[in-house]
Amino acid sequence: MAERMQICNLSEHNFEQCTKCSICTTVCPVAAVTTDYPGPKQAGPDGERYRLKDPAYFDKALKLCLNCKRCEVACPSGVHIADIIQHARMRATEGHRATLRDTMLANTDLLGTMANLVAPMANATLGLKPTKLLMDSVMAIDKHRTFPAYSRQKFTTWYKRHAAKQQDAFAHHVSYFHGCYVNYNFPKLGQDLVKLLNAVGYGVHLLDKEQCCGVALIANGLYKQAKRQARTNIDNIRTSVNRDQRVVLTTSSSCTFNMRDEYPSMLGIDNADVRDSISLATRFIYRLVDEEKIKLVFKQDYKRRLAYHTACHMQRMGWQLYSIELLRMIPGLDLVELEQNCCGISGTYGFKKENYERSQAIGSVLFKDIEKAGVEAVTTDCETCKWQIEMSTGLPVENPISVLADALDVEATRKANGI
């Protein structure tokens, strides 16, 4: 009876576990740079007490929250502060129409498909000063932003032409959820993953169908569309896991976090049966090495000094360990682990004109750290961090998978794994 009483008292998002200790307020990157935002404690559990009484207490400033989850990581009492905030936003914006700008930014795949068709033109046009100024004034997309360049050939096109046929020959198999960024902007990352996994005896396959994971749709309040796409993705992931017995790997920490954790908590999509089968590629590969199922052999003459940046959602998943430990296996790599600070972009947040300055102020701590580290490049598991850090520091940013693929001695690795 006693135990059941305590279970009955558990509320959504551990809301009632808040002890009002204020620890969350010390880590919020937004509150650190602006007084317009009330901070996680006030926006989250404190404000929720009022909102439960009367929804009219909803504070518009809640849209400034980056959903970076740093407050949740710091909270000693396990309160899901950012979830409380996101749900409050969701309740308050239900039925509202998103602006054209937000819809456009959120639909990363639609924008990608259109741009790929006309890549050189799109890149040139999106990069032109008049276009940028027009976007700045009409669309409220900040003129300082450079849209990530679109690739001429989509990853899926490359895969079908150059990789698909070889994959069945391997002894083991995985599926790859490439996401919008790899498909439209940076196919090389997907190619690097195929190179790496093939070298250790794993065939890489695409899902029957995949759609944008929807992280940007959620952030921009397009919940209905996000739900539709989430259902499609989970259905196809289910097919891969159940029909083909293939786990699903990703190379983006945000897609991974979104599909594993935000689908159930934000969109109410039940993924419990396949959640454990969705994994970041670095985690999957680390585990194989750790269990001595595969071996990686690296180039003798490889020599680089890189800094690792822990993306916010990576920190929330607690998986930076896998990427860092994997990178540390490269003998010639001198890896600096940066202090865990937010880069300020948070997906599409930093693209919006009204957020630009705040976004850069948030990232400034990290950018200074990177400068101090004296490295030739930065490595991180998130593509939007990549844009932000490249724009703000001028240093190139690579995904750990690309770093590994670059350092790998393919022939020696194949031999070591008996291929």
Partner: protein, 415 residues
């Protein structure tokens, strides 16, 4: 994944133990769910503040008379002096500037203006070595306009009771005023984030120099220096009077800074710190713990030769209680606690509460007991331990630091 040692809990004790081991080249992983009670710390470490309600003058001497169940007695009263020296070294190696002595307590000042016995205090904080010889006569107590986490009137009264002449001076600067727009963010840690640039510090110093001309010493809430003490030093160089900080209500800037510095040093020594992850269970093989599992690395047990439980007391969830029992939630090790729930608490919040002394049962090598038998490679350190009362005895941080280093020694010797 295999390590030499895995530590559950990344508070003061977990980090102190991790640093001691990593310094000797061991591969150490700390699993740390959330921030720790150091965010309530006012810039001092206490070895032993009170025995039977009376302030302790010489902690080393007083420790000899503690009951056998106290963690210090398990370490061995004779070893405390040398361990205490190593604690000082650990702080200076981490870049934390603390002073004090284990055989003569000094006084630290709480945010409420009460003097409490302390062992080590940050050099930039107000401390009193001898109540009869105050470090200054006239104090200018600088009160930040709109900042409510410092009960100024109580603090001033407390300081006057100690014999200081205190003038309360309200002040503000543009940087501080800007923060007032969001009253919920007007906290010590937010102020510390604003008061970093030389120009912001200069504006504060200008106020001090013009308003506090009559004082011998300027006293200011501890709202400087999130990551190191350079902001304070800059401010001191701009102020024409000696400057000291005094603890604020939590979250504490000094506590946050010390944690950042310790964590930084631990990582520099090659340690792995898993932020925001929680140990959820362990696998035993006879009288040994073979691995633990965490919430986020759910399918990869962390294996190690040795384990350390540094998960803190009830507030940190290192100890839990339901309607029937007090228990340790991760490994289910034995607890020293009254079985009868009626005995857990006493009437009156400020009275000594029995549950403050509850905690994990250990043998004389700090090894955890499970069903009465020691687990050979699992030690408990810090406030998860039974037999001490941080509130009534003023021994919390001391127990954390000294048991941490003692456990690191045991782990080394047992090889």
């Amino acid at each position: 994944m295999r390590m030499d040692t895995v530590i559950i809990g990344g508070g003061l004790s977990g980090l102190a133990c991790g640093i001691s081991l990593a310094k000797r080249g061991k591969r150490v992983t700390i699993v740390a769910s959330g921030q720790s009670t150091m965010l309530f710390n006012g810039g001092s470490m206490e070895m032993l503040g009170y025995v039977d309600g009376k302030a302790v003058e010489n902690p080393l001497e007083a420790i000899a008379s503690l009951p056998e169940s106290h963690p210090y007695s398990k370490i061995g009263a004779d070893r405390i002096a040398s361990l205490a020296e190593r604690v000082k070294l650990l702080f200076s190696d981490s870049g934390i500037d603390m002073t004090g002595s284990a055989n003569a307590n000094h006084w630290r000042i709480t945010p409420m203006g009460i003097a409490k016995p302390a062992w080590l205090t940050l050099s930039d904080h107000l401390r009193i070595d001898d109540i009869n010889r105050l470090p200054a006569r006239r104090l200018a107590l600088m009160c930040i306009r709109g900042y409510f986490d410092q009960p100024n009137a109580m603090l001033a009264q407390g300081l006057r009771d100690l014999g200081f002449e205190v003038e309360m001076i309200e002040f503000t600067t543009d940087d501080i005023t800007a923060l007032r727009r969001s009253p919920s963010e007007m906290r010590a840690t937010s102020l510390a984030k604003r008061l970093v640039s030389n120009s912001a510090l200069q504006r504060v110093a200008d106020q001090f120099n013009s308003l506090a001309s009559d004082a011998d010493m300027v006293l200011m809430p501890s709202v400087f220096g999130q990551t190191d003490s350079s902001d304070f030093q800059m401010l001191q160089s701009m102020t024409n009077k000696p400057l000291r900080l005094v603890a604020t209500l939590p979250p504490s800037v000094a506590g946050m800074r010390m944690m950042t510095q310790l964590r930084h040093y631990f990582k520099m020594l090659g340690g792995t710190y898993l932020t925001g992850d929680t140990a959820v269970s362990g696998t035993f093989d006879g009288d040994r713990l073979t691995s633990i599992t965490t919430a986020k690395l759910s399918d990869m047990p962390l294996m190690a030769d040795n384990f350390v439980l540094a998960s803190g007391s009830f507030i940190s969830r290192g100890l839990r209680a339901d309607y029937e029992r007090v228990y340790e939630p991760v490994l289910g090790v034995d607890i020293d606690a009254d079985a009868d729930r009626e005995q857990w608490t006493r009437f009156g919040v400020l009275n000594a509460q029995s549950y403050f002394g509850y905690g994990v049962a250990t043998d004389d090598q700090l090894r955890c007991l499970k069903q009465g038998k020691p687990i050979q490679n699992l030690r408990a350190i810090g406030s998860v331990l039974s037999g001490h009362d941080a509130v009534k005895m003023g021994d919390g941080t001391g127990v954390s630091l000294l048991t941490a280093i003692a456990a690191a020694d045991h782990i080394r010797e047992n090889k």
